[in-house]
Amino acid sequence: MSNRRTVFSSFTSRGAPRSLADETADSRLSFLVPSFELRAFAWALLTVAGAVGVALMLWPAIGVENVDLVFLTAIVGVAVRLGLWPSLLASVMSSLCYNFFFTAPYYTFTIREPASIVSVLFFTIVAIVVSNVAARARVQALSAMARARTTELLYAFSRKLAGVGTLDDVLWATAYQTALMLNVRVVLLLPGNGSITVKAGYPPEDQLEAADLAAARWVWQNDEPAGHGCASLSDAKRLFLPMRTGRGVIGVVGIDADRDDPLLSPTERRLLEALVDQSALAIERVHLVEDMERVKRTVETERLRSALLTSISHDLKTPLASVLGAAGTLRDLSSKLTDEQKVDLLATIVEESERLNRFIANLLDMTRLESGAVVPNATRQDLQEIIGSVLRRTEKVLEAHRVTLDLADDLPLLELDPVLFEQVLFNLLDNAAKYAPAGTTVTIRARRQGDAVSLQVMDEGDGIPSADLDHVFDKFYRAHKGDRVRAGTGLGLAISRGFVEAMHGTISAANRDDRTGAVFTIKLPVPAGRDRLGDAA
């Protein structure tokens, strides 16, 4: 919904639609039909009056034989500015005035000399011809302008559609823009659930009358316009047009308006068809993008599924085999085992079960992340406290390592889900324990850096091969190590990244600058508002 509003405002913010619509309405080919606008005729008369004034002033200087040029100039001006009919009026008025003021006897409409009769006659003919030619030039200029304007509008429209990402937005933009540009009401129907239904409208509309729905369906099935003003199903209130792409009809657009005259002029009809074409292309583009996403997801899911199967068959079966084997041995061969061997087998059962438990826990976490079920319950947390708690949990994992804490004193409280964050740290420490040799030091360092807190977990292992740096957070990715290291689940770091990102943080992997070893850095934003740790103290 918010997305739609953004698009809406991007259409309105430039203030364009309203003015576009007005200009489009102006260019509704008024020049083809005689438009008896009183103002135009008044201007024509005024221009002729002006011409009379100028001619009277210039007459002594230029001579009567050149006075007609003044009138012709005025007529051409009227024809170019105001069109054919005002200029014809100007022609007639000019020839009358010419006769009245400039042929003897002066100030009468009578003509005495035959030469003057010819003069007035030719003047009238020339005036009318010039009127015509100039007016036609105007018509051509205007229609060229209108075409340019239409092209420009269509271009702007298609550019807007290109930037729109979702089907909803495309439909909304189409309905809105068409409604404004043609001053009509618009509905858009798209297929769904085996039939076509209204998906968008401007003004918003979600139901159609039976006759209109029938017309829309007819258009959908026959790929031809129908409804108001068409041969087919003309009792429908709206005019329906098919929205076509190379792949066929993808939807139907319906329009109506509150005017009696033909719903659309031919130009408007062409504009509508162009708009609908653009929109159809945009809709198809959105569909294609969705299809591609779906294919990509399917491929990704398939890849994951096979990785998961491989992983499960190995990671679940190996410990299970150990547990079953050890337990079976204890049950069946108990009398032949030394006490030491029994203790050893029991330890195997416990350890391998714990490993199995960790793996299943990781699988569950990963599943929760991927299904979007991880919703952090973030509250203000003391990083030091979470670290203290995770150290207790990792005591056993890290019993062969030293852990050094290097936490700044000025750490602010952070917005964290403590349970998720503890798991993130647990996974990082568990990872360090796996990849750094026993007896080395694992350092946890936390610093405030402006609006963020950076938390680093550093080990003293061999570090991460640079080719692997980009992949350590991938699912089921395990850095290649010798037999020394027991493989993890390949999920711990992927889960850590998922959890950190769910809490609006980032996590990255690198190698240490000061010595060999890996360093994982988590950056978390410092929440806005006062740090209340100081308040209460």
Partner: protein, 229 residues
């Protein structure tokens, strides 16, 4: 308290788990009873078990509903809840509904037995509270209100002392944020205040406040003071 062994009711629908618990509890000399569902558990209540181990995932009733009904009928029995990992909300709800503690499945028998001892100790303590609480180098004299670390007296603010006293009174038991806030301020107070006081208290009584030994954090749930040695 009746004489004889303590009576523990195991409420779980999984026979292998009940068997495991039965064997483990027997090693401590407890007398065990089993219920495979909520109905059987409620029917057993008139026999006044000392402690109930309650699995929250029962087939015939929501674990929390059963807990509320148990609490309505029997306020004295200690209740330790078995819950699954990741269900912190469920654990907090159970504790706020009157459970004494929780154990996350899968659990080690030692851990479970320790939790049971704590829950039962708390019950027994009601009759005769020990005047001086000791754990590690920490000692708290609840009568004279004196707190010592390595025999040196530690000065606590009144609020810090109240917090510590509350934890001592429930030593070994997990106390939810809500409970602690309700006792010390009121339940609507922001948990940040609690965090601040816990931090201060740790700095005064813990040998290494960054790795607390006494006041343990139960992430997402609350705090637990280590049980006396």
């Amino acid at each position: 308290m009746s004489a004889g062994p303590l009576k523990i009711l195991i409420v779980d629908d999984e026979p292998p788990i009940r068997k495991l618990l039965r064997m483990g509890l027997a090693t401590e000399g407890y007398e065990t009873f089993e219920a495979a569902n909520a109905k059987a558990a409620l029917e057993f209540l008139p026999q006044h078990p000392d402690l109930i181990i309650l699995d929250l995932g029962l087939p015939d009733m929501q674990g929390l509903d059963l807990l509320r009904r148990i609490r309505a009928q029997d306020e004295r029995a200690a209740v330790v809840v078995l819950s699954s990992r990741g269900d912190e909300v469920g654990k907090v709800e159970a504790l706020d509904c009157g459970a004494d503690d929780y154990v996350t499945k899968p659990f080690g028998m030692n851990e479970l037995l320790a939790r049971l001892r704590n829950a039962l100790r708390h019950q027994l303590q009601v009759q005769g509270e020990r005047p001086i609480f000791r754990v590690g180098d920490l000692s708290v004299d609840l009568v004279r209100r004196v707190v010592k670390v390595r025999d040196e007296e530690v000065k606590l603010s009144p609020k810090e002392y109240d917090l510590l006293r509350l934890m001592v009174q429930h030593a070994g038991k997990v106390l939810t944020h809500k409970f602690l806030l309700g006792e010390l301020w009121d339940r609507s107070t922001d948990a940040q205040y609690l965090r601040v006081y816990v931090r201060q208290l740790r700095h005064k009584i813990e040998p290494d406040p960054e790795r607390p030994q006494y006041i343990l954090t139960e992430t997402g749930i609350g705090y637990r003071l280590r049980a006396p040695d």
